[in-house]
């Protein structure tokens, strides 16, 4: 079997996917590690972990495409592609009807307009200021003493979301603290935080056509509260795969397979949700 890998070295987390081609596309393994301070090491660790899960030897992998902000640091990679191309490709694979991708990661947010074949038509991204990104949420979680995975569910319980005034990821802390001091409920504060980010993201995303189906990818897609907040502001439903976090790595793996000249046949694709949900 032809084996390929996609490694998405994000600012926060590194995602790796091992894929193969036999009677169509097969997703064999995936892994998630914190990027930490050694980008190169994180890339290696992610890749090796995914190989272990796929039960293949690293040498068997014929082609590796790196993506994400640390893609140039992947020493073992064969090619690099931008995360924009990879998220578009991954999202299209997960939901072939995708026309817009909203990717929210640790340090940036982007919106990508894609064509019928998953090709990028247009995109915007916010990467000068961390306001309104996963980091914003991570900070909020820290201040409230919550785990990342508790954020979303709690925010959904909000009845009177507060108005969040700051957009700065660092200073959202003090906003939250002052609301706590006023006796506001954590869920209302979180509701406000989620809405604030959703508004910011949507106003960025509107720079591309925002046609349906809109698929959300990136780590923040794991946060159901954020998904709902975005849906509320957009007034439309989002497609979210349980494997949304891996969309970039998956896209990179798809490109890797293609580049390996294995020739991916359109008919052989199948939704990878089940596998990815793992």
């Amino acid at each position: 079997m032809l084996l390929a890998a996609g490694v998405d070295v994000g600012s926060t987390q590194t995602k790796a996917v091992i894929a193969g081609e036999r009677d169509g596309f097969r997703l064999l393994g995936r892994a998630l590690v914190d990027t930490g301070s050694n980008v190169q090491r994180a890339a290696e660790n992610g890749f090796l972990a995914a190989c272990r899960e796929a039960a293949v030897a690293p040498e068997e992998v014929g082609y590796v495409v790196g993506t994400g902000y640390g893609r140039y640091k992947i020493t073992f990679g064969h090619a690099q592609m931008t995360e924009i191309s990879c998220h578009a490709r991954g999202a299209h694979f997960l939901f072939p009807a995708t026309r817009t991708v909203i990717d929210m990661g640790g340090q940036d947010a982007k919106a990508i307009s894609v064509g019928a074949r998953g090709e990028v038509l247009d995109f915007v991204m916010n990467d000068k200021c961390a306001a309104g990104t996963g980091r914003f949420l991570a900070n909020a979680a820290e201040v409230l003493g919550l785990g990342l995975d508790e954020l979303g569910p709690l925010s959904l319980a909000a009845r009177h979301p507060v108005k969040i005034t700051t957009v700065c990821t660092v200073f959202v802390e003090s906003d939250i603290l002052s609301y706590l001091a006023q006796g506001k409920q954590a869920e209302d504060i979180l509701g406000g935080v989620h809405l604030a980010i959703a508004r910011r993201t949507v106003s960025l995303a509107r720079r591309v056509p925002l046609e349906a189906a809109i698929t959300m990818t990136g780590g923040v897609a794991r946060n159901l509260g954020m998904v709902r907040a975005l849906e509320q502001v957009l007034e439309t439903k989002l497609e979210v795969s349980p494997g949304a976090h891996f969309a970039g790595a998956l896209g990179a793996a798809l490109f890797a397979l293609e580049k390996m000249d294995a020739g991916m046949k359109a008919g052989n694709r199948r939704p990878a949700d089940a596998i990815l949900a793992g």
């Binding site: 108005k163 005034t165 508004r199 949507v202 106003s203 960025l204 509107r206 720079r207 502001v233």
Partner: protein, 386 residues
């Protein structure tokens, strides 16, 4: 118990805060054949629109009451708020009661906005008026008169009544009265700033953007009789003049905050277009010519009107001295390039004249003012507790 003043002010606040232009909709229901024409700041010859039997509607943004969802994408970073809130109002259908919108070339952003509106609101007629910037030329008055004629022609095409001299003179007289009343209110406040809340004055003035000038004149007469509360005790506040808010308007809460933080506002340039002429426009003779000449020779100075014959920075110093102001507060809309530029020369001149000043930036869409409050308080403290 609410007083008559409270009542007037509350009524005006409702008119001002109604983002869907309820007053304009109502007027159009009452005048089914007539059109309403919006105009973007700073100055527009509302007299012409009135004389065509139409309702002139002043557009001054949407303040903090509108959540920007679309306009940010069209105008991007580093562009002032009023551009975006105005576009957002249009993109969300709030400008629908307007049959046309009139723009002038106050700045590069506003000019581009006019044409972005033209593309996005095909149902509305977008007009662009070029107000001459070289009043020293002998050709300017004739050009402006021609420009007004062109506008009059367009208004007539849009279903307006034929604009004749008599009708235009009557409209000018009404607007002369409107401006005279505003001048009187401003004079009242400058004389006894502790007796009149600037926010009240402001709301009554701004409500005039949405109602026929006759109605507004009645409101202003009422305000002149009742807005001041003679019993109010003077506080130990800093007497200031505000400069820089000629186009995008500071949020209402910010206007209130300035006084709460210890300032008396002797003069400001809020809604400058409503008080554009320093004297009455002559009503005898050629009215178009009179409007044009008044624009060139008898209007207030502004950062968006170029007149190299009179230097704005000297005029500001003169104004501050005349009113006995202790300081100048620059209240500048973020990303308002004309205001930023003028600040440099203003600052130099004020420093030479030993008049203290403070520069504050605001955005009409802002709704918390902790930092601004701190800055104003510090400024006041530094001058009052020396």
């Amino acid at each position: 118990m609410p007083t008559a003043t409270d009542h007037l002010v509350e009524r005006c606040r409702e008119v001002v805060e109604d983002l869907s232009l309820g007053e304009v909709r109502r007027w159009k229901q009452e005048h089914p054949q007539a059109a309403a024409i919006g105009y973007f700041p700073v100055y527009a010859p509302a007299e012409l629109i009135h004389a065509a039997g139409m309702l002139p509607v002043g557009l001054n943004g949407a303040g903090d009451r509108l959540d920007l969802q679309h306009a940010d994408a069209r105008f991007g970073s580093f562009i002032c708020s009023i551009i975006k809130t105005t576009l957002e109002m249009g993109l969300t259908g709030r400008l629908a009661p307007l049959d046309g919108v009139l723009f002038t070339g106050i700045c590069d952003s506003a000019r581009n906005l006019a044409f972005v509106c033209e593309r996005n609101f095909p149902q509305q007629s977008i007009e662009f008026l070029h107000l001459p910037q070289n009043p020293a030329s002998s050709a300017s008055a004739g050009f402006l008169k021609g420009e007004y004629q062109r506008l009059a022609g367009r208004l007539e095409q849009l279903g307006g009544r034929k604009i004749d001299d008599r009708g235009l003179q009557a409209a000018i007289a009404l607007y002369n009265e409107n401006r005279a009343l505003l001048r009187a209110l401003y004079a009242q406040r400058a004389a006894q700033p502790h007796q009149m809340r600037t926010l009240d004055l402001y709301l009554v003035m701004r409500a005039g953007n949405f109602v026929p000038v006759e109605t507004h004149n009645a409101w202003l007469r009422e305000a002149l009789a009742e807005l001041a509360s003679p019993a109010a005790k003077p506080r130990d506040s800093l007497r200031i003049v505000i400069e820089g808010s000629f186009c995008e308007q500071p949020p209402l809460d910010l206007i209130r905050l300035i006084e709460d933080a210890g300032c008396y506002i002797l003069d400001d340039d809020f809604l400058l277009g409503r008080r554009w002429f320093s004297e009455d426009v002559p009503v005898n003779g050629d009215p178009l010519g009179a409007l044009a000449e008044s624009y060139l020779d008898r209007s207030v100075y502004s950062s968006v009107r170029h007149d190299f014959r009179h230097r704005r920075h000297l005029l500001l110093v003169e104004k501050a001295r005349r009113l006995g102001a202790q300081a100048v507060l620059f209240l500048i809309a973020k990303f308002c390039e004309p205001a930023y530029f003028d600040y440099v020369l203003f600052k130099r001149e004020l420093e030479a004249a030993a008049i203290p000043h403070l520069l504050l930036e605001f955005e009409e869409k802002a709704f918390t003012f902790d930092r601004l409050r701190t800055e104003i308080e510090t400024f006041v403290e530094s001058l009052l507790f020396d």
